[in-house]
Symmetry: C2
Subunit: 444 residues, 2 copies
């Protein structure tokens, strides 16, 4: 395929889940437009999408996150209902809480219920009966629990329309749809920088000058046959690399990258762990739901098909932001000591089954945080539409985000997007000019 | 002086104008506390404070910026009234506007007037009479003006309690006051990184772990006799270097650095330019006020004592954000071509007196932008108080910011600061947890 000399209507940079959703929804609603999706890797969803935990939930404290995730989840469920395997397992999310957390979160839970989010509340007795393995009370004599400051469990909040999916399958689904509609994809193509040109060029070195109206007209490439690709609109969906492509032309990419590590604990040959995977009290799948423990956002996810768990905990203070992430995440490695000293003690504190467990695999990716409010953003600037800020929950909102980017492409920042199920969303709310969102309080 | 083994109550990092104001107000209101101010340079205000344009105004569109600047200016004026030379010249700000700008800004001007900000409005006839040199109308045949898209001038908004000051003198004033109260300063001392320690250390490699409560207990030094200094509270006022010190422990410094260039045009031997400096229609000093032109934020500032102008224009799109500014701003240089192609054409377009003018001096510093809303911030985090985000108007708000940092030190983020003149300000407003400010629209 050649793109030499051709001017596209839209280039989408980044074939992670966000860029894929943007490309698909743009092509779907603008079938006559030539749309090109560009990525520096050799396939879709190969960077942080592939490294993600790929959970989904609609249990957020902010209304915006609720709507973005709920409509996206509904779309994914509908796709699956139509026979496309997205690896969806609706296990539910079990947020185990101590007394203080339960009380602090009560108003959030009430708000969610008021907004129609399906939630079931467990008091301690219910929880002990539904999940007998969970240690809910710690003795004063338990030195380890004391050291870790593990609190007694007071209950749990169970999110029903929550679970996991397969990010590769979802990526492939969007890719297939986009290609079927006539979209084009260029892999192994590094959009190195943005072409900013004056609307009325004078041919003088150093243009555009401050007094010239200018706009982004395409991208400069690295490692491709042609040196640039031009387009009327450029969509930036490069995740943690947003800053890298936007800062050189003086636009804030509004993301902060932080390492997210995941550790696999195999249950093979360990009957206690194997047994923990199965539980008929929470979902139709009769498996353990995704469990978030009361300490340090420590969580465990059962994968019955592999007879294993994925476990991790939050990365907050003392874990550096990474200013300029390397292109292939080569330096982004999981640390065995992080499991040993951070995840393991908490995990074992609540579930004895994990005693002596060691990871069989581990990997790391990068969160793309919007540190301002942990809610994603879409904003425009002189020929650009920039999306990002998934903050650890990007995949579960990707469908809505793609629809918003498309709505902004067609109607600008003052319009509304029709999210899946014809839910109307005023797109200006998640821009930065008139941002009007509540800070998200439930970040894992 | 030795600091070995000593634990300070407070360390303030950064002896620019913000750090100085913080140190002074903290010491003033907490006289019994041991307070240390640290800077890697050899004197106060040597980095971006010294490179600033050092103007002051209370004409902002956001109420918060109005209050922060107005009370700070009142304090500076009071200090000057008491016989301390701060180099204050109350010249006024003359915002020259085209028709569209005048109409767009009318609501902001009305709001300012409603808030008690002294403003005088000029229509075109008034302005032509008060400042005859200003070109207010462009002919269709004026090719240069057409190319530059210079619009006819429709009027001006004149801010009265506005002008310039000497940043060195203001820095020295705060330093002197701080020292007189018994504060200590360590120059040539690079606070390289923050000491983050668990509240209950276990002595295990890799602490603090995620399940440990931890806090900042001091700073690691580079190039000093001792290797670290410990303190109960660390105040970060390092301007564009906020990210550098905060990111390694996973805190967003919330600043974006961008180059700001200033060019000096000498009026020596140029009667037209010399004459332009003097004008008896705007202020008691009988000098030209600070003039902001309708195009690209181009401005000129007359310095009658040097028989010269300082000129510049805005640095928006196409001017890169600088991710990791070098410590001594060695790579931060003004570009002659920037004057020639960007500033000069606009300047000459409105004032013929600048025909053929070339800079006799030029220099560059860095703006420390809060790209979110262009309003400064103060927030706390585990033993830290972080201030910054001056966005090009830091000096004129520095006094209020110091008082806010002190109020937060004493009463936390839920309290109020008493700004100069006993103006009460709820400090939580400019934090990030419950930020409640309107985006500033008048950024130069």
């Amino acid at each position: 395929m050649t793109t030499e000399g051709k001017v596209y209507d839209i280039i989408v940079i980044g074939a992670g889940i966000l860029g894929l959703s943007c490309a698909f929804h743009l092509k779907r609603n603008n079938p006559g437009k030539n749309i090109l999706l560009v990525d520096r890797l050799s396939d879709v969803g190969q960077a942080n999408t592939a490294r993600s935990n790929a959970m989904f939930r609609n249990t957020f404290t902010s209304w915006d996150n609720q709507v973005l995730s709920d409509t996206s989840i509904n779309f994914y469920l509908e796709v699956a209902k139509n026979g496309i395997d997205l690896g969806i397992r609706k296990t539910g999310y079990l947020w185990v809480m101590d007394e203080r957390q339960l009380s602090l979160n009560e108003r959030h839970v009430q708000k969610m219920i008021g907004n129609g989010i399906e939630i079931k509340k467990y008091d301690r007795a219910d929880l002990e009966s539904a999940l007998p393995s969970l240690r809910t009370r710690f003795q004063d004599s338990d030195q380890e629990a004391k050291l870790l400051k593990l609190e007694n469990v007071a209950g749990a909040v169970f999110g029903i329309k929550c679970g996991r999916l397969d990010p590769d399958k979802l990526s492939k689904y969007y890719e297939q749809q986009f290609l079927t509609l006539g979209g084009k994809i260029l892999f192994n193509t590094n959009a190195k920088s943005l072409l900013l040109e004056p609307n009325e060029p004078l041919g003088i070195e150093g243009e555009p000058f401050v007094w010239q109206e200018s706009r982004i007209v395409g991208v400069r490439l690295e490692g491709a046959a042609q040196s640039e690709i031009r387009a009327d609109t450029v969509v930036i969906a490069t995740g943690v690399w947003n800053n890298e492509i936007l800062e050189p032309i003086g636009i804030d990419g509004h993301v902060k990258a932080k390492k997210r590590q995941l550790f696999t604990i195999s249950a093979r040959g360990n009957k206690h762990l194997s047994d923990l995977i199965y539980n008929s009290n929470f979902n139709d799948l009769k498996v353990l739901p995704y469990v978030i423990l009361p300490k340090s956002g420590c969580y465990l996810k059962a994968l019955e098909e592999n007879n294993e768990f994925w476990v991790a905990c939050e990365d907050d203070l003392n874990r550096p932001f990474i200013n300029t992430p390397d292109p292939n995440l080569e330096n982004c490695k999981a640390e065995p000591s992080y499991y040993e000293h951070n995840v393991y003690p908490i995990l074992k504190g609540y579930f004895e089954e994990f005693e002596n467990s060691k990871p069989s695999q581990m990997w790391a990716g990068l969160y793309s945080y919007n540190t301002l409010d942990s809610i994603p953003f879409v904003f425009t600037e002189s020929g650009l539409i920039v999306a990002g800020g998934g903050s650890g929950s990007g995949i579960m909102k990707a469908d809505a985000m793609g629809r918003i980017v498309d709505a902004i492409y067609r109607d600008g920042e003052k319009g509304e997007a029709a999210l899946y199920g014809n839910v109307h969303y005023p797109v200006e709310k998640i821009g930065f000019r008139s941002r009007a969102v509540q800070r998200e309080e439930w970040v894992i």
